[in-house]
Every structure is written in C-alpha cells, then in structure tokens.
Symmetry: C2
Subunit: 495 residues, 2 copies
C-alpha cells in the first residue's frame, strides 16, 4: 500500500479527509467565534483568483459594483413574509451600540437601540429600500448592481467553507421593466456561473431549477448549479433567483412605464460564495492533498532549488531566477504566469510535499545536474507524485502554457467522467431506495414537484437537487406518486 | 459671475459644497441604517481603483491577504486596557442569534448569547488570538498579513466617507522578532501610504508621529499622514502603529527566539479606509463638481458623440468606437486606458455636465465636423469648462498618455502649492490664536507633547496633527508652556 500525505484517505473517511486536506494545504481554520472561520493566505489567494475572474464576467455582462450597509433594520426583513420566515432562525441581532462597565468592572452591552438590526443574511431588503429611491422611470432600468460582501447566517452545524456562520460572497441585485427581461437576466447569470465553474474551476455542473421546497425564501423561481463531490454527494455551487414582483412590492420599487403608468418592477438576485472553495477542494483533491486547476491556482508553478553548499546555491538560484523571469513574461489565461521559487531552508522532501499538499499544478526541481543538462525536473500535481520527468528547459518554457491547458482539461474531463459514471436513471421507488442505500450518486427520475414526496426521500437523507434544463421533454410516471409528470428531477444526498 | 454646477460654492459653504459634490457625482448617499452610507457605483469604482493599486503595493512589500471573523468576543476586547477604553463607547453589540414572533406577532430578538460579540471596530484582538497559535518559533517570523474588510464604529456625528458607522478599509497586522524590525515595518508602510497618496491620488501628505493624546488605543507609537483640504483643515489619511509588545502580551503571541528562550513578539498594525475618497474629493474638486486625478479615475476619457439623425449617428458612432478601441489598446500606469462612450439619449449639454460633475479627466466631443477634420474636440476637467480645443485625432492618440501625466502632475502641484501657502511657522501663542481665529491652516510650532497644552488648543477647535518627520532638529521654546522642546508640531482644525 502506498503511503499518502493525507490521513485518513477519501475511502476511509471522506468528511475527515476533507478537514485534513484543508489543514494540510493551510487553507483555513476554525476561529474562536462560533462557526466562523479564518481564511488563511493560501485559501484567501484562491478566493482572490475566483473574485478576479468572476468580477470580470459580472462586469462584462453590464453590471457595476456598489456597497450597501452590513446591518438591516428588523422591520425591513419583515416586509416579505416568506423571506423573513426563511431567515429569522439564523440572524445575528445587534441590540446595543456601546459597552459599559458593570459593578464588577466587567463590560456589558449598553446604549440599547430603539429598533434592533440584523447582520445581513442576504441583502434583498436593504438594497430594495435603496432601489425604490433610485428607480422612478423606465429610463432608470435595467438597474444592474453587484456587491462583494460578508454575510452572516447563524448556522447550528458548521463546516469550513461549506457552511460557516460568516462567509464571503457576491450578490447581484437587478431591477427590470418586464418579467421577460428579469427571467432572461436570471438565466444569463446562472450561465455565467456555470461557465465559470466549468472553465475556471474545471468543475462540471448541472443547471436546473429548484423544486418549490428548495426555493430561496421569497423567490418565484430559484435556479441553481449542482456539482458532484467525490463522495457522490451534491453541492449547490451557485443560485440565481427570479424574484418576480415580490420584493418590489415589499420595498415599493415602482416606476413609470413607457405607457406612463406606475407599476412594480421585476427583480432578480444571484450569488456565489466562499463555498465554491469547498467544492473545488472536494471535486479535485486526492489522498495527497489539494489539487488545483491551473486557472485558479495562486501559484501555477513552483520552483524548488536543490543544492548542498553556498557555491552551488548561487549557481542554482541564478538559473532558477532566470527561468522564473522568463516564465513570468508569459501569459496564461490573460494573466502573467504565476511562478514561485521556494528557497526556504527546509529539507527538500518536506518542501516538495508541502507544495504537493497545497496543490500547485507544476513543480520543478532544479539542481546542478539539471543545469548541466539545461533541463528541469518536472512533476505534475494531477499525476502520481513519483512520476517525474526531465524536460529540456527551453522546451518547458515553449510548451508550458499548453501543458497547463492540458492539466486544466484533464481535471475537467476526470470530473465530468465521475459525474456521468455516478448519475443513474432511476425508474422505480424500489430502485431509488436501493440506489441510495447502496452506492448512491445522482438519481435522475420522474418525480412530481410536490411536498408529498418528502416522506419518501427524507428517511434516505436525500433531497431534490434540481429539475435539470437539459432533458428530453417526454412525460413519465412519478416514481413516488404514480402520477403523470412532464419532467425529471435529480435527487442526491447533499452538502 | 460665472454660474457653477455646484451650489453652494466652496467659498459660500464648504461642508455643504462637499455634500453636494458627492450628490452631483453620484458617489454615495445616506442609508436608512444610522450613520451608514451606500457607496454608489461611481464611488465604489474609485474605491476599487484604490484597492487595486494599494493591494499591489502591500503585496510587493511581502504581505499576503487573509480574512478574519467580523465578530469579536467581548472578553478579547478587554484584554488590552487602553484598547477597550478607546473603543467601548462606539461598539455595535450582537447579543442574540435569532428572531422570534412575540404575542403581537412582531419579531423580537431571541436566542440570547452567553457572551456577546462586538462587530470589529478594528481587528487587533481577534487577529492576535490567531497569531498566538501561528507563531511558535522565530522561524515563523515575520508574519505579514493584510485584510480587506468592513469595520463598524458607532459614531454619533457622521459624514459621508469621512466618518461613517460602517466603513471599508484594509488593516495590516504584522508580527516581528525584534523591536527594530517592527519599527521599520511601521515606517515602511507609512511610506507606502504616503507614496500612494502623492503618486496616485495626487494628494501631498505630511508624514509624522501622533502626539500621545492622539495615539491609537494600545499603541506605543502612532504614525500618520496628514493632508490639507481646500478649507485648510487637516484630514488624517492613514495611520501606522508600532504596538510594541502590548498586544502580544494581551493575546499571548510568544515565540522561541534564536537563543531558545520564550519571548513576546513585537507587532504592528496599519490601515487606510474609504475615508480616502473623502479626502480625494476635498483636495481636488471645484465648484463644478468632482475632479479626479487620471490614475484613480474609473474612466479616464469619456467620448460624447454628437449627431442629429440616424445617418449621422451611425457615422459618428463608428468613428468614436474606432477611437475608443485604439485608446483602449494603450497602457497608462500599467493598465489599459479606461475609455467610455456615452451614447445615452440625453441632451448633449446635460450629458457633458454630468461628466464634468463626475470628474472625468478628459472629455472628447465628436461630431460630423470633427470627423471631417479628423479631429476631436477636447476638454480637460482641471481647466475651465469652456476651455475646449480641437486636436487632430492621431495627435491626440499619440500624446494622450503624456497628457494624462501632465494632468496628474498639475493636480499634485496645485495641491502642494496650496499646502505650502497655507502652512505657517508660528512663534507665539498670540500668533497662534490670531492664526486660528483668522485664515487658519497648518500651524507649525514648537510645542510640548503634553496634555497641558490642551487648554490652549481645545477652545480653538484645533488639534495636534503630527510631529512631522521632516524638520530641523533644533530645539526651541514651547509656545504654550514656555518649556524647551526639541521638535515642532503641526496643529490644525481637522476632520
């Protein structure tokens, strides 16, 4: 049996493996604040890379960034009944605005607020309040705004990146003249997310619509992208909501339309969060730690100089630095290649393993012999650790960007194959039960979008993930109710 | 008298002029959340430009970004006595973690927390808690971390950008082996801020040390950069704190030094915030609205097509688009030129004035006659609005980057001249009183760093801004106490 860098392996204990990969790659850790994580530099650099790419896509589709208050007056939250019902149980509430020493000299809250605030669990209501001022006429529409922000939902069971009390995200909020335009916007942004996941994170996703019971509180339709983790569970990687006129009515977003009549506007909202880092980890990583697709890796290439004494050191470092400079002069995916030299005073093996665990796509070991041969000794993170090869230096430079493309693509194909291999057409309830009591995965089956089916799926800890866009339009028989239904739904256990 | 776009003018009512510039340029507005602002797209784009540049400088000096919790346990804040004393009066306190309907059906806070949290007014204590885990040996040092985050201080009197309950900032937090290294870090980052302000914001600043009474709560030394607004008041644009071992003792940041002994580390912290946008507005803007230095302008050039009918429209737009494309292919300050075509259906005069008020450095009006002449009709924001000139199109393209440099430099020189013209050497208390009862500005005078001088300056609403680094080292007589003192201090009214 091969020794792995991560204990336990995926096979042995998937949830614990996940935690250990995060620790080994130094991505994040729990903080003393209940359910809140600290995103450490390597994890945050991944988030920055995600933000950079996604921000460009959001702007390229006509949106602009703005910033709205962290706090929401309690009364605003109450304006949309389903919305408040959905979030009331997990709101951090600010009730005081200063601290005062009590008789024992300990600080206690003072300066009680007349109306408490909640820390935003999402910003529809506070942004809606502003939009109501900004939108007067159809000439003010569409209003296409995005916000990068922190969010707080007081979750009872938390897990790093996947579910934390505080998390970072972007939330798009848009206002439209017509229903059709708002629906198109909702779907356009879902497509942006899907493309980002597939193209940048090398993570295939299934686009679809949430069933009624999984809808965003207050939305008319919630669309989502669902990805499959390596334990075959689903992870909702992003959502886009068509809010109809629910929030424009709650916040009085009204405008004079082209016919000169006052009407309520149509709104949307859509978001992805630091949760994406969790999915990135779980889709690609292996029993040696994190595996990063080149397009999202904070460093794409790490150079490890190898030498025994000071004379060698200077010679090796010069060679490495020249190589680094040349590589940094190349562009990959519209940006200069990200290349790091790790010259820390550490045992070579330890150093190499650190970068394996951190998931850097390409490692180059360079010693005197490599210099003599005008070569580099190359390892690729997605291949077995021991599989290293000597490549002529100039050849490496000439082919490195296509190598990174090859790696990026290999990760995507592998994940696509996994998704396909573990998605099964299910035709009867018996099969359904067998599937989820056994191997599991994504079950695609005819099923009504009806609360009545909950009794069949809940005991299996399974939920409806989405009604996928891509499916034949043939009707079939719901495996739970026996009724006729015009679409299939994907079911899975989920994060 | 010339009509101005902003009413009142700077002369008539400076504070109100400031608010009106913000409204006219559509930078921000008050929100329904007490003291919190909404940063609107044009204002946020300025913040993004600041972030982009500053983030590069912070990384170029060896720091990496990370993210720490929004909430701080009350007990952490108490660990450093001066620190908590400084912030206790302005903390938003989270006391509950859900909402519940009362008998009348209204939502009320529920789920009382055992220990309340405060929303971070600054993060020394929560970051210190993590650093104590991360730092074990001198090999872990220096630890050089930066965070971009939102901050909350419950201010009683707020003003857009200058003083708001919530604001955005970056906060650097570093840990060092020796006192000297920590002091050097503190000064290095102050220099980074000063260079950023002068080079990018075209805003001259005075670097210096805060007097004891103006020090950051818990710091050993606070260094700052002070800028002069057009009403001659000072604005503290950034601070850098040498924290000594105060916070390492409070948070137990200890390490094994090279001699194998446990010792407390030396820490620093430093930050700039969205307040910088306030200073940017007040340093450069005029009675027609915002004036933006090219390096920080979200759009550096705006092209205004002028036509009367559809045939002309297509011809003019084609010419404009080709010009835009060519300009976007140029680099200015390491980035593609930012060029916008405004083809909205608005009266030409209104459109032109909107961009004047938004402060875009260069405006190009282009109509049929300009096309016939292969020319552009150019206006520069920092020159009088009516001063427009026809320039050959190709000449404009060939010289545009040096034109932007000229504008950038002209704004800096103007601000430097203003600062110099309104800084006065003051030698007696009588002169001091006369200065601040009259014209005002920056008063440079011998003065002890001693609370005893408060009684002389407070009635004038003046404060010690800093003890500037750049000054002759000759001793003199304190104008307040008559005692001998080895340095001069700058006093001013301040924001």
């Amino acid at each position: 049996m091969t020794k792995t860098a991560i204990t336990p392996t995926r096979q042995e204990n998937y949830p614990e493996w996940y935690q250990q990969v995060i620790a080994a790659a130094d991505l994040a850790e729990a903080s003393p604040v209940r359910g809140c994580m600290v995103i450490k530099p390597w994890g945050y650099a991944i988030w920055e890379a995600m933000q950079r790419d996604l921000d460009q896509r959001i702007k390229a589709t006509g949106h602009v960034n703005a910033y709205f208050p962290l706090l929401i007056p309690l009364s605003y939250l109450e304006r949309e009944a389903k919305h408040v019902a959905g979030f009331a149980k997990e709101c951090a509430v600010v009730t005081h605005h200063r601290l005062e020493a009590n008789e024992e000299g300990r600080l206690i809250p003072a300066g009680k607020l007349e109306e408490p605030y909640v820390i935003r669990p999402t910003s529809e209501t506070i942004i809606g309040e502003m939009f109501a001022k900004w939108v007067q006429s159809y000439r003010d529409l569409p209003l296409l705004i995005n916000q990068w922000a922190n969010i707080m939902r007081w979750e009872m069971r938390t897990r790093l990146f996947l579910r934390t009390t505080e998390f970072l995200w972007q939330e798009g909020h848009t206002v439209h003249e017509t229903k059709q335009e708002a629906v198109e916007e909702t779907l356009k942004m879902l497509a942006v997310y899907a493309e980002f996941c597939e193209n940048i994170l090398a993570m295939p996703v299934i686009k679809g619509e949430k069933t009624a019971s999984e809808r965003f509180p207050g939305a008319v339709n919630t669309y989502c992208i669902e990805a499959m983790m390596q334990d075959k569970k689903a992870l909702q990687a992003g959502t886009s909501h068509f809010l109809g006129q629910n929030f424009s009515k709650a916040s009085h977003i009204e405008f004079l339309n082209q016919a000169g009549e006052r009407q309520f506007a149509w709104t949307t909202s859509w978001g992805v969060s630091t949760r994406l880092i969790g999915s990135l980890i779980m889709v690609h990583s292996d029993d040696d730690g994190l595996v990063l697709p080149p397009k999202i890796a904070p460093e794409q290439i790490v150079i490890l100089p190898i030498y025994r004494n000071e004379t060698d050191r200077s010679k090796v470092l010069t060679y490495c630095q020249q190589l680094q400079q040349e590589l940094q002069g190349l562009n990959y995916h519209h940006q200069p290649l990200r290349v790091k030299i790790d010259d820390r005073d550490l045992r070579g093996g330890d150093k190499n393993w650190q970068w394996v665990k951190k998931g850097v796509p390409v490692r180059l070991e360079i010693g005197l012999r490599d210099i003599d041969n005008q070569a580099v000794f190359m390892a690729q993170r997605h291949l077995p650790v021991s599989q290293k090869q000597s490549v002529l230096r100039n050849e490496f430079v000439a082919t490195v960007t296509s190598l990174l493309d090859t790696i990026q693509n290999a990760l995507l194909v592998k994940a696509q194959d996994y998704l396909q291999a573990n998605t099964k057409e299910i035709n009867t309830l018996a099969e359904f039960n067998e599937f989820f009591n056994g191997e599991g995965g994504f079950a695609s089956c005819y099923a009504l979008d009806d609360p009545a089916i909950e009794e069949f799926i809940k005991p299996l800890k399974v939920s409806a993930r989405c009604i996928p866009f891509e499916q034949t339009k043939e009707a079939g028989i719901c495996i739970f109710t026996g009724k006729k239904v015009g679409y299939k739904t994907i079911f899975a256990k989920a994060y």
